[in-house]
Amino acid sequence: MNDAEGAYRDPVVEAYKKGIDRTLLRANLKLTVAERFRRAMAHARFADELRRAGRELRSQQK
């Protein structure tokens, strides 16, 4: 990336940056790459379980 590209600040991107939880990023940066992937897989398993529970709840409500 050249200097001009690197220095460019898109106002839309800058607006989005204000909503980013940097504490999560700092915590991730302390992990190894493998730990980051393993954590993501654990999150995906949790998301799958939440979806399953949601489906079960909706079927009970019918």
Partner: protein, 160 residues
């Protein structure tokens, strides 16, 4: 759910030439965003197409979202007649990309890739700088938030 470890190990075991891009690359660089698939840019050499076919054959690849029963044949010919493939496999979804906007092909991206020591192997991954460049080039509204996070990661990393 994508088993990143098993998918990457399968590609590496078969000596497939690829670079991790997209959400998984962002994850490697510290992103906190959720990603459900593995996006890779693969070399289009005939030798590599053969390696890719051999690697994924055992994982029963099928076109994601396509109705069951289509005559989809997983072969070098199929890969050579297309460029980008969005697949479901028994280890989870994987997107095989022949090239990406703002980055180009596997050969174009090699100089801006980094090597990750991960899961007892070495995997090429797009550098954070190139990832930012590719997101900017894509220019999709849905990428703005991801781009903001990547730039924040660069700032955090440079702050030490």
């Amino acid at each position: 759910m994508t088993d990143f470890e098993a998918l990457l190990s399968t590609l590496d075991r078969n000596r497939v030439e690829y670079i991790v891009v997209g959400g998984a690359a962002a994850l490697a660089h510290g992103s906190a965003r959720f990603t459900q698939d593995l996006d890779v840019v693969y070399s289009r050499s005939l030798e590599n197409l053969d390696r890719l076919v051999a690697a994924l054959r055992e994982l029963k690849p099928y076109l994601r979202g396509a109705p069951p029963g289509l005559p989809f044949v997983w072969s070098r010919e199929t890969l050579s007649h297309g460029l980008n493939f969005t697949l479901d496999t028994s280890l989870g979804p994987i997107d095989l990309l022949g090239e990406i906007p703002g980055g180009g092909t596997y050969a174009d991206l090699i100089p801006s890739s980094v090597e990750l020591r991960i899961f007892a192997g070495a995997t090429k991954c797009l550098s954070l700088e190139q990832l930012i460049r590719a997101k900017r080039a894509a220019g999709r509204p849905k990428d703005m938030e991801a781009l903001a996070e990547l730039e924040a990661l660069r700032e955090e990393a440079s702050n030490g």
